[in-house]
């Protein structure tokens, strides 16, 4: 009997000792239950645009992003044009972060003397931990453009003929600290097209990616593949004067450089349009023929509405 008791006491003593030894190592383990709180993945891209197209990144609530964009002339236009720098089209725009997941923006391009406005919303943000983490971010963008030139049919100079719309869904993921990629599907609706055989709805698939070279610089690619007519309308693709006959797939390659509140995006591209309608449907230069232009986006953010402390 007494042997049993002594054994029991020894056991208790050992348990007690073990507990002491355990607690000595890490005081924090006594309160840290190891639960990982839900964490949203941020900074997949440096800017709210990959280059031309929207990225899965948002500017944040109460933030005003002043964007000044330039696209120069063709690099192969010779020294007398300083390799395209003599000629420039530009867009200036203001984006405002209404909520963390909702941005509105307005801009004006010299190309086609065109206004554009958009709403960008992120229903799903990539996250880890918590109850329902998502491996990807999903972003919806809807916008419209209004040209203030007479357009392709000056004799039918109606207001509605100058309007176009675009709707876009983007699915993207930050794979790791350096690499992020996104796929997008865009519908551009043109209220007026050159030929009666041309479609008013143009679809494009987009691919955007960035690879960080250092903390403040990144390499970015932005490409859109335009879905042309198939089947019986295929001939229209080559008909002179038709929409698709001159349309090229826009491809831009560049670098993001971030300095404090500024992001500079320097790139080479075959497109000069700076809104979705313009760069998807109005790109006529071809990389294959060396028709490349230099361009830059300058983004400066201002926090105009401060969250209450």
């Amino acid at each position: 009997m007494s042997v049993k008791i002594s054994k029991l006491i020894y056991t208790l003593g050992l348990i007690c000792l073990a507990q002491v030894g355990f607690a000595q190592d890490d005081l924090l383990s006594s309160i840290d239950n190891g639960d990982k709180p839900k964490e949203y993945i941020k900074n997949a891209f440096k800017s709210s645009r990959v280059i031309n197209g929207h990225s899965i990144e948002f500017i944040g609530k109460g933030v005003l992003d002043v964007r000044i964009l330039h696209r120069f002339g063709l690099l192969n236009s010779g020294f007398s044009n300083l390799y395209g720098l003599d000629q420039a089209t530009m867009r200036f725009g203001f984006d405002y972060g209404v909520l963390n997941n909702l941005t509105v923006g307005i801009g004006r391009s010299t190309f086609d003397k065109e206004w554009d406005a958009f709403v960008k919303y992120r229903p799903i943000q990539q996250s880890t931990g918590g109850s329902r983490p998502s491996p990807v971010s999903v972003v919806l963008v809807s916008g419209m453009t209004a040209s203030t030139t007479p357009g392709i049919y000056p004799e039918r100079n109606y207001y509605t003929n100058k309007l176009a719309y675009y709707h876009e869904i983007i699915v993207g993921r930050k794979f790791n600290e350096k690499f992020s990629a996104q796929l997008s599907s865009t519908l551009v609706h043109l209220n007026i097209v050159p030929l009666s055989t041309d479609p008013n709805n143009i679809y494009a698939l987009g691919l955007g990616a960035r690879y960080k070279l250092s903390k403040r610089t990144a390499f970015v690619v932005d490409y859109h593949y335009i879905l042309r007519n198939l089947g019986e309308n295929e001939e229209n693709n080559n008909t002179a004067g038709s929409l698709f006959s001159t349309m090229k797939n826009p491809l831009s390659i560049g670098f993001d450089i971030e300095t404090g509140g500024h992001v500079f995006q320097l790139h080479f591209s075959n497109c000069s349009g700076m809104n979705e309608k313009a760069f998807i449907t109005k790109t006529t230069s071809s990389w294959g023929k060396g028709e490349i232009r230099f361009g830059f986006n300058l983004s400066r953010v201002f926090t105009v509405s401060k969250p209450k402390a």
Partner: protein, 184 residues
Amino acid sequence: MKKIILWSLVAFISFQAAGQKKLYSTKTGTAFFDAGTGVENISGTNKAVMSVFDAVSGQMQSSMLVKGFEFWSQPMQDHFNENYMESDKFPKSTFSGKITNIDKVNFSKDGNYPVEVKGTLEIHGVKKEIVAKGTMKVTGETVAASSEFVVVLEDYNIHIPGVVKDKLAKDAKIKINCTYSLIK
């Protein structure tokens, strides 16, 4: 046999005594830092600091998620995480050390007690020994501790690029406020 039982009891009790701890903890401590030069408000607050200390040995440990720092400006918060703290690579800042004059604090008597904390502070993956002064205010079973100290950013491999040199200070003032309660 009786002797064995007796010695066992003695051993058991002494183990208890040696292992006795009086742990105070919090999960909602705040850490505030100010690294501005007066040009722009560059400061952030983390309201989820975890900290535990042992009122018997003076041992103290604290930890916080770097991403828990909140700023008045979202872009500033992004730059803090992305460019300066690299919080994906170094998600936590920790402190592990000792309150060197814990014996001067009478936890059964309400009042203010000056304390000194010595230990290892880890920020941005760099560990450094620090000594900081602070106070502990004992009120019943809660202890409100506060401390202020300065860290030099360069010591923790946090480099300041030229373009923000006039805005961002070389050292950050840090204020810690933790209201601990006794773990029972």
